[in-house]
Amino acid sequence: MNDFVTSPFFGIVLCIGTYAVGLWINRKTKSPLANPLMIAIALVIVILSVFHIPLEDFNQGGDLIAFFLIPATAALALSIYRQVWLLKRNFLPIIIGSAVGSLVSMGSVYGLCRLFRLDDVLTQSLIPKSVTTPIAMDLSIQLGGEPSITVAAVVVTGIVGAIFAPSLIRLFRVDNSIAAGVAIGTCSHALGTTKALEIGEVEGAMSGIAIGVSGILTVLFATIIL
């Protein structure tokens, strides 16, 4: 049994299996709330807890999957390149939109944390939550936060973006693919971008650009302001 769960194949097969279940439930219910990624994460957590399997064992395979996050983010360059004429034509709106969004994200987190009277460490851990994980972790350490809380906030934020992006587009009547894409990438980094890619090629590319722009600008703003 021990060899079974410590084998890298265990984590990989478990992820693919639970993700397949997630996709199946998503197809059956046709509800955006039944997000395949969220279902897979929940199922894996339940299975590990019920069978008392240490996270470390799961990560023998999990790390191999997470390894692909870097090449996958790099591959966004191709989807951006396919829309390069749109980027050239709308360079200013994309940059300014991302800049305003990054500031609003940090400001609104700070304001709400104060409102809920959360302590400083938690507040500082949450401030960088809208940007991609490695940037958010570095910033969290710089600000005096707890990086593991930051990672949790980044993932939750990304899942919120991935689940609610289509509803938000409808709710706020964002009838413009560029605005929708930049908004998804700025508010929910690469995880939200996975949904943007499903919505459309323009949305995916713009969301990809916004990951980079908002990430770099957030570092810049945090250094200037804080």
């Binding site: 590990l48 996270l55 999957i65 996958a72 591959a75 360059a77 959360l118 706020f172 964002v174 908004a183």
Partner: protein, 124 residues
């Protein structure tokens, strides 16, 4: 052989991204640098889309899947967060929506302003 070549190019760009990320003083991660590098390579035609298309599209189509381990790792933070789980989730939820709204409307507003300027120029 061709598909192996594609994997090789993308991973080589990531390797270069790692080197650059370590060399520069700013805290910009390998993933973002690799994305910028690959974009520059595509723009300069050093890499053609057909050189990386199949592998890249495979990665892009399955991007959500690669996030499963990161999500599962949250279970480790559960003890730390259980006292403020509700405000934590609420803040993540509300600020994501506010940020979406602010960004989308700024992009639309700047696009509209840009359009006016461009039209004025045409009339002159």
């Amino acid at each position: 052989m061709k598909s192996l070549f594609q994997v090789g190019i993308v991973l080589a760009v990531c390797l270069a991204g790692e080197l650059v990320s370590e060399a520069i003083p700013a805290a910009i991660p390998t993933s973002v640098i690799s994305m910028i590098l690959l974009f520059v390579l595509l723009l300069s035609k050093c890499v053609k889309p057909r050189h990386i298309e199949q592998f890249s599209d495979f990665l892009l189509k399955n991007m959500a899947f690669f996030f499963i381990p990161a999500g599962v790792a949250i279970m480790e933070q559960f003890d730390l967060l259980k006292n403020y789980l509700f405000p934590f989730l609420l803040i993540c939820f509300i600020t994501t929506i506010i940020t979406f709204f602010a960004t989308a409307y700024t992009v639309k507003a700047v696009m509209a302003a840009q359009k006016r300027v461009r039209e004025d120029k045409r009339h002159e």
